[in-house]
Amino acid sequence: MSKKEEKKPTKRTIQVKYLARVEGEGGLDVTVEGKKVKELALRIFEPPRFFEAFLRGRKYQEAPDITSRICGICPVAYQMSAVSAMESALHLKPENSIQQLRRMLYCGEWIESHTLHIYLLHAPDFLGFEGAIEMAKKFPEIVKRGLGLKKTGNSLMALLGGREIHPINVRVGGFYRAPSKQELSALVPELSSARAAAEETVHWVSKFSFPEYERDYEFVSLRSSDSVYPIERGQVVSTSGLSFSASEFDDFIKEEQVPHSTALHARLKGKPYLVGPLARFNLNFDRLSPSTRKLAKDIGFVPPINNPFKSIIARSLEVHYACDEALRIIFSYEKPNEPYSEATPRTSVGFGLTEAPRGLLYHQYKLDKDGIIEAAQIVPPTSQNLMTIEEDLKSFIEENSELSQKELGWRCEQLIRNYDPCISCSAHFLKVKWEEL
């Protein structure tokens, strides 16, 4: 593809027809005039599936099973936000050991989902491969390490949830069956080697070459009142100092619809914001385990980090943390007296907010006196990041308009993948197409 060198501002369109290595269906259309981006649309054409509509009329107990089907990559996140919302509606407070088991299950999903993204979806961008299969030809041991790490996340989910995808063991009030200490202890050797593999992963990704690109983001994540890193509970906090609880989510965050997308776009007080590993890391560095924090310091990765391309490092550190945290929970675990507590249905509204691997996941349910869902609202992390992804693309293209068509297209895709977008969640797919007019 030869490029015409012209002084006069040329008009060109960038279109990523089909963005590979993301979960779901979407595309990107950009029109550039000279150095200015005239139009930019991250098109989401994942077919809508109407979960919020067919949740109406279902029983409160069904929400975790049904909403897990929104996303095969992060079903635990959906189950956790759903049970948390239902329990807030029904005034149920599961005992501490249940909370710990949930946290550990969630660690399993973080390990699995993050490792999938780091090794199979994102690293090939940095190393110039089309995918992990191609990357494995040159670096078989590295890809095997990634697959092994991913498998540990899956083992954790399979034991606690029954299976990795759409676990069956989660219910409102607790679990159908609580594992014994012995069953959990059997995972210790695997988790310990995973932790070592996670450490190697952090060192590996920290040596990638990152484009010099920074923006001032409004990071948003949970932060818990106790001293742990935010996973399954906490208050929302942000870079600019906002702080609110799940029940206030609607007052701060509004979703709007745009013609080019089946995913809704969310804004915080009218502005774009960023959720996910980078946000959690920047806002909760002090809550990482001592060993993960030390690891971060060793590689010189400390807040504030404003380069979105470096989210892969934050993601890797979170995998390390999740291994650490799962081990900590196993050592302190005591089997709960009862695997779950029963709820009494009542007319109510409940709110649930947890940290999916990709960021904040909000559920809200309105229940009638028999516990039938009258209304449901779900705000997945990718819808919250869409505006920020669009802004990243716009500013990156304008700052780097001298790059060749091919390289700019590649970088645009990479920028989108920085967010590990889950279009299946937000509604679903991405395409990037280029044309010079």
């Binding site: 089909y18 109407f50 509509a53 191609e134 299976r163 759409h166």
Partner: protein, 262 residues
């Protein structure tokens, strides 16, 4: 030319991506698989695209938009064998719940501007649109079963996927019947095997995510649920209308039960 590796393609329609993730979840086998066959089209895993025709196409998801209804025809034309993976592709999936309601109303609940949304009235399985060579059930599918299906088709043999019920798996596993021993309503007797009797092994009744087994006797099981276990009619209808609501036997039974009323 003689030793050309068979070409595998993985396609996505309306779904959660969980069934194609199952392929990536075969951590121990994935690289081996990729060395035996050519992964010619699998956008969730690689940017690399090799032109068809494909020896085996795995299709995830159901048909819910006019665009997808056209696209599945192209997939069929480019494929020697076409196998559906999962509840969405095989029975229309959870999004087939729209089939029992008004889809325009559904769109207006979720979207402020439903006119931006293009969608069909019904979510249909792939088999309602094109000829399908095999259907692998499950929400999600099982790792072992997908590996068996891939290897069977690439060797031109029939996959060894038992069509019996979850009950058989409980017996084989030595799990005590949750319905008989604990009075927990269980769809095991009418549900297709494949999960390894997961729910009963976790003290829970089967909720039918693998869809109907061959020749299920649904009215008989539902009489037991309602007569012996005190399950209310609206609840038994709802259980049949979840992840495989548009699978023929489930759809017929739930419609009939609704007509009969309490």
């Amino acid at each position: 030319m003689k030793s050309r590796k068979p070409k595998l393609a993985v396609w996505k329609f309306a779904s959660c991506d969980g069934c194609q993730l199952t392929i990536l979840d075969c951590e121990d086998e994935f690289l081996k698989l990729a060395s035996e066959i050519e992964i010619a089209y699998f956008p969730e895993a690689t940017k690399k695209v090799v032109k068809g025709p494909y020896d085996l196409s795995l299709v995830e998801g159901s048909i819910t938009t006019p665009h997808d209804a056209k696209r599945i025809q192209e997939v069929r034309n480019a494929s020697k064998y076409l196998v559906t993976i999962g509840a969405c592709a095989t029975s229309g999936g959870i999004q087939a719940l729209r089939n029992f309601q008004n889809v325009a109303q559904f769109a207006s609940i979720v979207y402020a501007r439903p006119d931006y949304i293009q969608t069909l009235e019904k979510s249909t399985p792939i088999s309602a649109n094109v000829k399908v060579d095999f259907e692998l059930q499950g929400c999600p599918i099982s790792k072992h079963q997908i590996l068996e299906v891939i290897s069977a088709f690439l060797n031109h043999r029939k996959p060894q996927i038992p069509a019996h019920s979850v009950c058989m798996e409980c017996k084989a596993k030595g799990v005590v019947c949750v319905m008989v021993a604990k009075g927990i309503p269980c769809l095991g007797p009418i549900t297709h095997a494949g999960c390894g009797a997961l729910c009963p092994a976790y003290n829970r009744g089967c909720y039918g995510c693998y869809g109907p087994k061959e020749t299920p006797n649904i009215p008989s099981l539902m009489r037991w649920w309602e007569g012996e276990l005190g399950v209310k009619r609206q609840d038994s209808v709802r259980v049949l209308r979840t992840f495989n609501s548009a699978a023929k036997p489930f759809e017929e039974a739930s419609t009939q039960m609704e007509k009969e009323g309490a």
